[in-house]
């Protein structure tokens, strides 16, 4: 099986010659929201549409790095008492059903920590999950976790932000393998050249330090924002906007958004 970065590179290559914008789509779904069944059905539907990367968030009662829409959905999902073990099994089934896509499991540290981080990596690997994103696990504290990931062939996915100091950014970028999750808080409207330039500078700085694919998330909700990423990043992450569309009009509205963004 190809590594995550190999997978991404291959698909990027293929997209150059397709009708779609040449960016992979990484779509975000909260496990257990609004119910476990509905969330699984939504994931399945996205995968059927050819979404390359599915980011599944295991909900947590205190998602400190998320905005209001995702926070509310997480709280709702927690009420459905999601179980980590079952979640991993169900994601494994999806991965097996859609071998053309990759599933990344995202979540805050505590539920993983309670499950056991080593056990998590093992079980995720066994289920074919390609990567793990843990926004509140600093790289400095992740020695064992990274060894486990290496041992079991799961990619730990790190985040950088515009606030990350240059040296640290370089260091994190250098250590990135499967992909690097580039958060941009500044947002890109497509209108403001200054902001667009800032994003370009940010991404090119990162690029200097790594060959890993770059995934960018900054509240993408219009095609022009995606277009601005072409040539500078590999993956467009659609999170809150997708959830809002889904909340407003279900799966169809979600898919319509993705289509309007040019990434399905």
């Amino acid at each position: 099986m190809p590594t995550l970065s190999e997978f991404i590179r291959a698909r990027s290559q293929a997209l150059q010659t397709s009708e779609r914008l040449p960016l992979l789509a990484m779509t975000h779904v909260i496990y257990g929201y609004p119910t476990v069944e509905a969330s699984l059905a939504w994931m399945r539907r996205l995968l059927e549409q050819g979404i390359e990367l599915l980011e599944v968030q295991f909900p947590f009662s205190d998602p400190v790095a998320d905005g209001p829409t995702i926070v509310a959905a997480c709280h709702r999902a927690v009420e459905n008492q999601p179980q980590m073990q079952l979640c991993l099994q169900q994601l494994g089934q999806l991965q097996r059903d859609f071998p053309q896509s990759r599933i990344l499991l995202m979540g805050y540290l505590n539920p993983f920590y309670r499950y056991g981080l080593t056990r998590l990596v093992q079980d995720a690997a066994a289920q074919g999950i390609a990567g793990l994103i843990i926004p509140d696990l600093p790289m400095e504290r992740a020695g064992q976790f990274r060894r486990d990931c290496t041992d079991h062939g799961v990619e730990p996915i790190w985040l950088v932000t515009p606030a990350t100091p240059a040296e640290r950014l370089a260091s994190i970028a250098r250590q990135a393998t499967g992909m690097l999750y580039c958060v941009s808080r500044s947002g890109v409207t497509g209108q403001k050249d200054g902001a667009q330039q800032a994003l370009a500078d940010y991404l090119s700085t990162i690029r200097q330090h790594t060959d890993a694919p770059l995934a960018v998330g900054f509240g993408i909700r219009r095609r022009v924002q995606v277009e601005a990423l072409v040539g500078q990043a590999d993956i467009a992450i659609v999170g809150s906007a997708l959830l809002e569309a889904y909340n407003a009009g279900g799966q169809e509205a979600g898919l319509a958004l993705l289509a309007s963004l040019g990434i399905i």
């Binding site: 790095a65 505590n110 926004p135 600093p138 100091p165």
Partner: protein, 424 residues
């Protein structure tokens, strides 16, 4: 107590979103410098004294001592701080640090509202912008504090997510900080959160224990035999205990909120009886009340300042090491202890502090009259009238409120009846 690089045994650390890394480092560095800068310490001590009225006294309680017939009972009077609680020690310290860092705005979370008021007070005094996050349920329950925060010029943002209480306010404050770190400082109110907050807050609160050492020597020529403090986040307990850590013979007793019962959701007992489990959330590793999936749980206490889901990593570590003994007091014990202090000594304790009283009262009679205990009276209780009146089922209080409401300016009544929020 100095941490080992932000850790206390297995607890502590800094588990925060990457975007906060720089700010966290900045706070760490500013604090490391400030604590070693005599000018900063001097400014701190000056504000403690001239603004908050420190030192707070150590009060001997002759009637209580006689009542229990055991140990001599002393109270450390943090209730006499400006704002009425120990919270002031910390907000003064962090406020001065904010000025030092050149930031213009502070963010804080608050549960009961005590830390919110203390922050709003200091922000006003230091000319800082101030935004307070408070669970929408707490806003509704503790509105008098909200009123004062707003009068002080602070923006109070009711948090409507999750359980709408302290925990959610904390999450929301962290989110604000993630977007505003450039000019804002997150002024955490207790010895929790990512490093260096537990250490920093404890550093600022340790003035409590240092004074108790001096006052004990001056007033009875010895150190106390036992210390009691309630444990919410753990800051007043750290403040009292830490300066005594080298003295194993001084027993330290931390008191948690026993609430209404032992079922999950009815109490806020994280350490005693092993009701909490290790976890990593809200920026730090400690013991949290959580389910088997690691979801943090709702808590309860009659004292709004004690119903926190986690606990200071410092307290968690010391308890694990057996360097302090954890116990708890039920809502009912707490009301009784509060009443007893009122009647016997003419001091109105906060319900939070009444937890420490309750535990101490339980044990005082078993000690000898040669022994001395110091209970940290972390705050005053007049703020608790709405709770206490309900707890003792006072019949005239609602009557008073109704007649007050009848006289309230009419147009405003209508506006608020319609739930239209603030007029000002």
């Amino acid at each position: 107590m100095m941490s080992d690089n932000g850790y206390y045994g297995q607890y502590g650390g800094s588990y925060i979103p990457e975007i906060l890394y720089t700010s966290q480092q900045q706070v760490q560095q500013a604090f490391d410098e400030a604590r070693n800068d005599p000018a900063f310490i001097q400014a701190l001590e000056q504000q403690w004294q001239q603004y908050s009225g420190r030192p707070t006294p150590l009060t001997f309680c002759a009637n209580l001592t006689e009542h229990f017939g055991g140990a001599q009972i002393y109270l450390k009077r943090e209730d006499l701080n400006h704002s009425g609680a120990h919270k002031m020690n910390n907000v003064i310290g962090q406020g001065l640090l904010v000025k030092r860092m050149g930031k213009k705005r502070v963010i804080a979370e608050t549960g009961a509202g005590q830390h919110g008021i203390a922050t709003a007070l200091v922000a006003a005094r230091l000319g800082l912008e101030c935004t307070i996050y408070m669970g929408a349920k707490d806003v509704a329950r503790q509105y008098p504090n909200v009123f004062w925060m707003r009068q002080l010029g602070a923006t109070v943002i009711p948090v409507t997510t999750g359980s709408q209480t302290l925990r959610d306010a904390l999450d929301e404050a962290l989110r604000d900080w993630s977007g505003s770190y450039a000019d804002s400082h997150y002024l955490i109110g207790t010895s929790c959160g990512c490093a260096p907050f537990p250490e920093m807050v404890s550093f600022f609160q340790s003035v409590i224990g240092r004074e108790v050492r001096q006052q004990s020597q001056a007033q009875f020529g010895a150190l106390p035999d036992r210390l009691y403090a309630c444990v919410g986040g753990g800051s007043n307990a750290c403040g009292l205990f830490l300066p005594f850590m080298d003295e194993a013979q001084v027993e330290k007793v931390g008191v948690e909120a026993g609430g209404k019962g032992m079922a999950l959701g009815e109490h806020s007992i994280r350490l005693s009886h092993d009701l909490g489990q290790p976890g990593i959330a809200q920026g730090f590793a400690s013991i949290f009340l959580q389910d088997n999936q690691g979801q943090l749980q709702e808590t309860h206490s009659i004292a709004a300042g004690l119903d926190y889901v986690g606990v200071s990593p410092i307290i968690a570590h010391l308890a694990e090491q057996g360097q302090l003994r954890m116990t708890y007091a039920s809502d009912q014990d707490v009301v009784d202890a509060c009443t007893l202090l009122l009647r016997k000594e003419g001091i109105i304790p906060a319900l939070e502090s009444s937890h420490a009283l309750a535990a101490a009262f339980r044990e005082a009679g078993t000690l000898s009259p040669q022994q001395r205990i110091v209970i940290n009276l972390s705050g005053r209780g007049d703020k608790d009238i709405f709770n206490v009146a309900r707890a003792v089922q006072d019949a005239e209080f609602p009557q008073f409120l109704r007649s007050y409401l009848r006289e309230y300016p009419d147009n405003l009544q209508l506006a608020s009846d319609a739930g239209q929020g603030r007029a000002v």
